[in-house]
């Protein structure tokens, strides 16, 4: 009985972590879907979400919903700016994908070290002030906190919103068309640059949301906090089949739950190593990820 409730408790914690990974992974997968590029700076946008949240809470003491809203707008604008300054000029010159990739790595390092400056975020760990008191509810088999509930609800609502946007709106139709055939999308009159900006902003907002949720759940923030969650979410996106929305979501939960289970039942030191092992074995079995289509050799 105790083992079962321990397993259930770890499952709840794993879903919580997985939800955050899913939110980040969506940004990787959407950008890959339309541009076939990996935006390595995406994990840092997640970090900025946490820091924006920190300043909105400590300096402005705004109500919780405004903290979320403003931080997400902040990260959306950051992602928009990164795309505009760093990636768009290269695309305009038809740079090869490898140039975009190394630029993304450069942007990532730039953000991390620039914000490490003492006058900005500093390289120190900072305690994140939770905007509300933690409450836990004993449901007999496991304990659930209001943080769990917040993360579940916020992720669930974002996913519904995202699906609605992608599958039911004109903008979403244009995103899907662009992902399939960029040239044809232009030929029907889609301003593809606008859709690309929009996609970056959408991914940025979701990563920002992930950032604050993560900081509320694990309340210590640092400029390098986006590195590992960024890589793991990227793994989640690849695991689900890069470019596929529901793949990124499922991949996020798989990685989050695995990570928590490895920490709980094996060793927390092995945690990160195990995630890579899972990726390695998984890709050997399904090289294109869970939902990725096998690409036929021509």
């Amino acid at each position: 009985m105790e083992t079962l409730s321990y397993i259930l408790q770890q499952l709840i914690n794993g879903i919580q972590l997985g939800a955050v990974y899913a939110l980040i992974a969506l940004g990787y997968t959407m950008v890959y879907g339309i541009l076939r590029m990996i935006n390595f700076a995406h994990g840092d946008v997640f970090m900025l979400g946490a820091f924006f949240g920190y300043y909105l809470i400590t300096k402005l003491s705004l109500p919780v919903y405004l903290v979320f809203l403003l931080a997400m707008i902040g990260t959306a604008l950051t992602a928009f700016t990164i795309e505009k300054i760093a990636y768009r000029p290269l695309r305009k010159k038809s740079a090869p994908n490898i140039s975009l990739l190394i630029t993304a790595v450069g942007v990532s390092l730039f953000i991390e070290y620039f914000f490490s400056l003492k006058i900005l975020f500093s390289p120190d760990y900072i305690a994140f002030p939770r905007p509300f008191e933690v409450e836990s509810y004993d449901l007999k088999f496991f304990v659930i906190t209001n943080i769990h509930i917040l993360i579940f609800i916020a992720t669930f609502l974002s996913l519904i919103g995202l699906y609605f946007l992608i599958y039911k709106t004109r903008q979403g139709k244009a995103m899907r068309a662009l992902a399939l055939d960029a040239e044809m999308a232009k030929l029907v009159g889609i301003d593809t640059e606008r859709i690309i900006s929009f996609t970056f902003m959408l991914g940025g907002a979701l990563a920002g949301l992930g950032g604050i949720l993560y900081a509320i759940a694990y309340p210590q923030i640092n400029v390098f906090m986006g590195v590992m969650p960024g890589i793991k979410s990227f793994i989640a996106a690849v695991l689900g089949g890069i470019g596929i929305i529901h793949g990124a979501v499922l991949g996020g939960f798989i990685i989050g739950i695995s990570e928590v289970f490895v920490s709980a039942f094996l060793s927390s030191t092995l945690r990160d190593g195990f995630i890579f092992l899972i990726l390695f074995i998984f890709l050997l079995l399904r090289p294109n990820g869970l939902f990725g289509k096998r690409i036929e050799k021509v």
Partner: protein
């Protein structure tokens, strides 16, 4: 400029790096006309259409549409001016439904009423598409995909329609069905059509005039009747 024309390509050249894809090409079409551009594979036919839609960069010369210079305008602007493209290989958005593909054809049109009118008109022209509206476009047969690609282009209310190899990969029966529909669209709606084809016989039979492209240059032009009688054409393109 001299006299005002509907659509005119004046002496354009297109280079792909050092390779000259098109050299001094001039093509003219008047309102309501169908013309065809024939030539062998790699002669530059597709490049010509790509230069009109803004996909291929024009290095020299001008493209004029309704007395506006549209040379090297981006593709998303060209379609708004009333020039719609049906590309080689159809290129329907395969995982999107047939209906979504059609809606994307009218992407830039804001007026819902106009979209609805176009939609109904397209479905009347292609009743076979109507049965498949909720299906992913990639599941259609080649002929149906061609109809969808033409329907998608018509959703933008074009004045000029560009067709790149509409017969490609289709059976002779479906090909003639497609060509009948092309003629019908031209006659009933007065849409001008520039058609690029390897199937020279079908193309010339459908169009009023034709141009022959070889190695990026126009080597012959004239009425379709004349071209169909021309011994050179018969030998090179009509396989007789």
């Amino acid at each position: 400029m001299h006299r005002e024309s509907f659509f005119e390509i004046v002496n354009i050249s297109v280079n792909y790096g050092v390779i000259k894809a098109l050299t001094n090409i001039s093509v003219k079409i008047s309102e309501g006309e169908i013309i065809s551009i024939i030539g062998a594979n790699g002669a530059g036919k597709s490049t010509l259409l790509k230069s009109i839609t803004g996909i291929a960069k024009v290095n020299d010369g001008n493209i004029l549409f309704q007395s506006q210079d549209i040379t090297n305008k981006p593709p998303e602007e060209i379609v708004k001016k009333g020039i719609a493209m049906v590309p080689e290989g159809r290129r329907v958005f395969s995982t999107l439904t047939v209906k979504e593909n059609l809606e994307l054809g009218a992407y830039f049109i804001k007026d819902k009423k106009i979209i609805k009118e176009n939609y109904e008109l397209v479905l009347r022209t292609f009743p076979r598409i109507e049965e498949r509206l909720s299906q992913p476009a990639g599941t259609l047969s080649g002929g149906e995909q061609q109809m969808l690609a033409i329907g998608r282009a018509l959703m933008s209310n074009p004045k000029l329609l560009l067709l790149d190899e509409p017969s490609m990969g289709l059976s002779p029966k479906i090909t003639s069905e497609i060509f009948q529909l092309i003629e019908k669209i031209n006659k009933e709606r007065g849409i001008s059509i520039i058609m690029v084809e390897q199937n020279a016989l079908m193309a010339l039979k459908t169009s009023k005039r034709g141009y022959v492209i070889e190695n990026g240059k126009i080597v012959l032009e004239g009425s379709s009747g004349e071209l169909l009688q021309n011994p050179q054409i018969i030998k090179a393109y009509l396989g007789a």
